[in-house]
Symmetry: C2
């Protein structure tokens, strides 16, 4: 049985996309409940200035809270070296630096050119190396807008290859792919996994961040699984998407993804009925916010619990 | 480039599931518009008694209207020999007889045991053989609830194999699989295609009818494509599902399916922007009815029209 890591990004990617600010206590309850349901990696926030994303201003407190949960990998997004410094100080286990392969999107999202983001990657890697070995977080470079950009359209393969190589060169432990704009299809998922693995090596690309903008989220996840990826990002209730990519919305839904994986015989370690109950925390803490997902509405097939 | 047949079932499976009765003129406009967008097979209705499904009482008139559209395969559902007689008289090109592999569901849906449905299949095949060769419609047996039943749960492989063989023996030209209840996952799709092909032969199973009840519709479609199927049912706006399977709702959305197929490089013959415009007919004729689909909301990716 193949083990698949479902990485919950709702507390970061979900909450940064909505205007309501979830109370810190509710975020803690959410993280605790998902961890108790068996989710073993949660991106709890992003170390960005609070004036840019007040929704995530309590990230340091959440990292500290989540570190007390046994067997949970506490992940955070860092937009730059300054954010990484805070993340390392907080003790996060995993740092993800997004690098938009569309330079136009990079400028809009991070206000940085490619060269500037790569410089930040070098600085982050140096900071991590300066830590004692036991305290060094995992450092992932995320190739975002890699399936196409709402501002630039398709991105040249050569540019993607160059940036993937540059992130590894700068000191990332591995790279991930992110369909920031919901442009991916199963064929492009497989094609880009092969393209980037050809540059960084097979073991250095294991994760993908997919959106469900055009309804292809789970089909793309299937393509990624078939290509051998083992880490899939998802967001409880499908909360989120990218606030800086106009028209793009909707992470893949954790509940539906876990249902697909478990139905297919993959091992996720997640208790699906417990995961479904976690939605109640979201619904209570974000009144009026749309929650997505088909399995929560349709319920589990007859005989599911017996089979599982 | 592989050609995939997207078979529109909305005028039958969609409309039978909702309480509103669409005016015949609107149905005709819908069928015409989809055919003009390049959809080459449409299930225009079902020959069931009007007292059971008043929504489909105009099926004969729709068949006659659709027959005048060049290059369109006019398909209908027939629940029994009586319906097939009417379908043949109307001149339909393709008849689909559903056989629920769950006998409990068969009794609830068609009020018939398996043996009784197989008897109807023999009678239908005989009626078709009695026609002059040029007027013989294609006759498909559809194995419904094949991925599990909301009343019985999973169905034994041996029962599925037996019924697939019985349909072919009775004189069906081929069989299709139908996930009536939305229980399928990509693994079970591949497994059941192999199982049934092993009984009927590879060329006698080319089509599948998938629902999106648990959000896996397009992932399951991808699995079916990978297994070599070339006909996929879908419903414009995701209208429909099965009215006799409690909790089951939602056909896969034609617009999203065509987007996935075209993005992947399959040839559908369908003009996606024209197809998207067809929704306006549905929206106008079915006020208040929920229409589904992600591509209609998100729009096409930047550069799509140039690439296509």
């Amino acid at each position: 049985m193949v083990r698949i890591l479902v990485s919950e990004v709702g507390p970061r990617d979900g909450l940064q996309s909505i205007s309501a600010i979830m109370p810190t206590a509710a975020k803690k309850a959410w993280i605790e409940a998902e961890a108790a349901a068996g989710v073993s990696e949660i991106e709890v926030g992003s170390f960005v200035p609070a004036r840019l994303l007040p929704q995530l201003a309590d990230t340091a407190e959440l990292v500290s809270h989540a570190l007390a949960i046994p067997h949970l990998t506490v992940a955070v997004l860092v937009p730059n070296a300054k954010g990484a410094e805070a993340a390392i100080a907080a003790g996060a286990h995993k740092l993800t630096l997004p690098l938009s392969v569309s330079e136009t999107h990079s400028l809009a999202n991070l206000r940085k050119t490619h060269a500037q983001v790569i410089d930040e990657a070098y600085m982050i890697a140096a900071m991590i190396r300066a830590q004692p070995p036991a305290k060094r977080p995992h450092f992932e470079g995320s190739l975002s807008t890699v399936f196409g950009c709402t501002l630039e359209g398709p991105i040249r393969d050569s540019q993607i290859e160059k940036l993937a190589a540059a992130l590894m060169e700068a000191g990332c432990d591995d790279v991930g792919l992110a369909d920031t704009t919901g442009y991916a299809d199963p064929m492009s998922v497989k094609r880009l996994i092969a393209l980037v693995r050809n540059v960084v090596g097979e073991t250095k690309l294991t994760g993908i961040h997919l959106h469900n903008t055009r309804g292809l989220g789970l089909a793309n996840a299937l393509a990624a699984l078939e290509a051998g990826l083992t880490t899939l990002d998802a967001s409880l209730g499908g909360l989120g998407g990218c606030p800086f990519a106009p028209g793009a919305s909707g992470n893949i839904v954790t509940e539906d993804l876990v249902f697909m994986l478990e139905a297919m015989g993959f091992e996720t370690g997640i208790d699906l009925p417990k995961l479904l109950k976690t939605r109640e925390i979201l619904a209570a803490a974000l009144p009026g916010e749309a929650l997505y997902g088909f399995v929560p509405d349709a319920g589990l097939p007859l005989g599911w619990e017996k089979a599982a």
